[in-house]
């Protein structure tokens, strides 16, 4: 179903969502950063954004999360109900929606289900929004079937067509959104949306041809390519923290006397402690091995395991790297060897 929401009435629409869901939407904070946040009123939403500084993955896989609490002789199982509320992610960009499908491969396996992630994920409705004005750091069209208007993984999809949004439902969940009272989209609206889409897709002009990448990387573990690549890397880890598909984590205990909790925190393959063994041995001792691991894991190992790259082309690592290490150039370098 395709409906129209007048921009002037968008706040009313969000208001109806707020009575049914916990809503997470882009909000501009006091420092001028646009971040996804839980909103309590429609006025908090900030729509004049290209993409959020941090990806919304933290609402499925929080940066810090208690796995359980313990006290002497007792492990207190956390209540899954506490994280099982109906959630709605509003105005998520298609690249970040795709990242959820990639994270599903890791956390929602038949063998070991990550109950924390899976519980949130299964209770989340995704109302995505097309990127009318993709920034120059984007390269989403590099990946199969992806682009600034890719619908994959979304329950419903918003397109900004000037003074109004066109909303398209894509799944049963999307159909169950409170859309009955909205007017149907006219043929003209649909045509406008298609034009907007076409223009946006053309704007993402950095498209890499990756079909030979797997094969290249297979034979590259010992390549001198890695010797120079890592030299300016500070191993600060910002690329992994802001990556919507990075999912590595640490587990540690926080204790106060005999009580405490076991927490997991985002971790990064760029940090030396990530693989440091108690004996002092470290299989990835320098930034060379760690940079190689990041590239290999995203573009070779992950693809081998799940048939998809662990990258969605959102460009956050390109935009935020303090030494301008551009993953697109890295890939081009590999492909040119």
């Amino acid at each position: 179903m395709k409906k129209i929401i007048e921009k002037a009435k968008f706040a009313d629409f969000v208001g109806t969502l707020l009575s049914d869901y916990e809503v997470f939407a882009p909000v501009k904070n006091e420092n001028g950063l646009v971040l996804f946040s839980r909103i309590s009123s429609p006025e908090e939403i900030f729509l004049d954004f290209r993409n959020s500084k941090k990806p919304p993955k933290e609402f499925l896989f929080p940066q810090v999360e208690t796995l359980f609490e313990y006290e002497p002789g007792k492990v207190k199982v956390p209540s899954v109900e506490a994280i099982a509320q109906r959630r709605l992610f509003l105005c998520v960009r298609p690249c970040d929606v795709k990242s959820f499908l990639i994270l599903d491969e890791v956390f929602d396996t038949e063998e070991f289900q990550d109950v924390y992630y899976v519980t949130r994920r299964r209770n989340t409705t995704i109302l995505a929004m097309g990127c009318v004005d993709p920034p120059s750091t984007c390269f989403c069209t590099t990946f199969d079937e992806m682009g600034p208007f890719s619908r994959e993984g979304a329950d419903a999809f918003l397109v900004d067509i000037g003074d109004r949004f066109l909303i398209e439902t894509l799944t049963e969940r999307g159909e169950s959104l409170p859309l009955e009272s909205l007017p149907d989209a006219s043929d003209e609206d649909v045509q406008t949306a298609e034009d907007v889409e076409k223009k946006a897709v053309e704007k993402v002009d950095r498209k890499l041809e990756l079909s030979k990448l797997g094969e290249k990387l297979d034979g590259m573990f010992e390549s001198p390519f890695w010797d120079a690549l890592h030299e300016k890397c500070l191993t600060c880890g910002v690329c992994t923290y802001l990556c919507p598909t990075c999912h590595c984590f640490d587990i540690s205990d926080e204790a106060l006397d005999s009580k405490g909790r076991r927490v997991r925190n985002w971790d990064s393959c760029m940090f030396p402690l990530f693989t440091l063994q108690a004996s002092g041995h470290n299989p990835r001792p320098t930034s060379k091995e760690r940079m190689r691991q990041r590239i290999m894991h995203k573009f070779n190992y992950f693809y081998k395991n799940y048939g998809v790259y662990a990258c969605v082309g959102c460009g956050r690592c390109v935009e935020n790297c303090p030494v301008n290490l551009d993953i697109r150039k890295v890939l081009e370098g590999i492909l040119s060897l």
């Binding site: 796995l67 359980f68 313990y70 002497p72 002789g73 007792k74 492990v75 199982v77 890791v106 956390f107 396996t109 063998e111 070991f112 289900q113 990550d114 109950v115 573990f221 999912h247 590595c248 984590f249 640490d250 587990i251 540690s252 205990d253 204790a255 005999s258 405490g260 076991r262 997991r264 971790d267 393959c269 990530f274 693989t275 440091l276 063994q277 108690a278 004996s279 299989p283 990835r284 091995e289 691991q293 290999m296 894991h297 070779n300 190992y301 992950f302 081998k304 395991n305």
Partner: protein, 276 residues
């Protein structure tokens, strides 16, 4: 089922294994006895042991599934969790998560001659495997064990080793690095003793666990004896956290040591980057 939740276990017994007191064996039993029946494992698998407040670390299971009662782990005091574990007393409570990982390929080993090559404190899951084979003796061919330690006091499971020495259905060769008073076994490093013992590679598998330097010099000897890479197995160690293939730190190539290992054949390892 929540794969991150440990089950509570009581330390039934602690035994100091080595003369430097750095290795202790812990016998653990679940507080909820019904958990023991559900704890179905094979030699080569591991568990995550929690010392609440300090964290969790992975340890190979040293007991064999053929043994009833407590589950056994032998722990080297090396980091935060192992030090905390060494400081505990009998009766203290820890957490246990597992069994995790794959195992030695028992089905593949059946009917074959098995050569076990161990060094130092890496003999824990090799003990599990050896006990398993001895308890199912009819199902395996010849069993040869070459086990080396720096000094006589550094062997694990000393009483058991002297029981094994008296058996005629297992060939045991113990070796120490330098001559020591009262030592009647072999003297020399594991690779040279293995070369001297020269077990046949025909219809055989070798299982090698030990320090990297021992493995490095043992592989050429096995090659000389005619063992092909697919006839040689080992168990890898990596820093681990989740133990279920999600947290990302133990991967080597596209495999995760915790989920796809820890046991690998050399044929498999040759296909992977040397990043361990």
């Amino acid at each position: 089922m929540n794969p991150y939740l440990p089950r509570l276990a009581k330390i039934e017994k602690i035994k100091i294994e080595t003369e430097d007191k750095m290795l202790k064996t812990f016998e653990l039993s679940f507080l909820d006895e019904s958990e023991r029946k559900k704890f179905d494992f094979k030699p080569g698998q591991f568990c995550e042991i929690s010392v609440f407040g300090k964290g969790e670390a992975p340890f190979g299971i040293a007991s064999s599934p053929t043994e009833d009662g407590p589950i056994m782990f032998t722990v080297n005091k090396a980091g935060v969790v192992t030090t905390a574990l060494h400081n505990l007393y009998e009766g203290d409570i820890v957490g246990l998560r597992g069994p995790l990982g794959n195992s030695y390929p028992i089905e593949l080993f059946k009917g074959k001659n098995i050569v076990i090559v161990g060094g130092g404190f890496a003999f824990t899951t090799l003990r599990a495997l050896t006990v398993y084979m001895l308890d199912n003796r009819g199902e395996f061919g010849e069993i040869t064990v070459v086990y080396g330690a720096r000094t006589p006091g550094m062997f694990l499971y000393k009483e058991e080793l002297s029981d094994w020495e008296r058996r005629d259905d297992l060939k045991l060769y113990l070796t120490i690095d330098k001559p020591a008073e009262g030592w009647e076994g072999k003297v020399g490093l594991v690779p040279s003793v293995l070369e001297e013992v020269a077990p046949s590679s025909e219809d055989a598998f070798a299982v090698v666990c030990g320090p990297p330097i021992m493995i490095k010099f043992t592989l050429p000897v096995l090659d000389k004896l005619g063992f092909k890479p697919e006839q040689i197995y080992t168990s890898l160690e990596m820093r681990m956290k989740c133990g279920i293939g999600k947290c990302g730190r133990c991967n080597i190539g596209h495999l995760y040591v915790c989920k796809d290992g820890p046991v690998f054949s050399y044929a498999q390892l040759r296909e992977l980057p040397m990043e361990y």
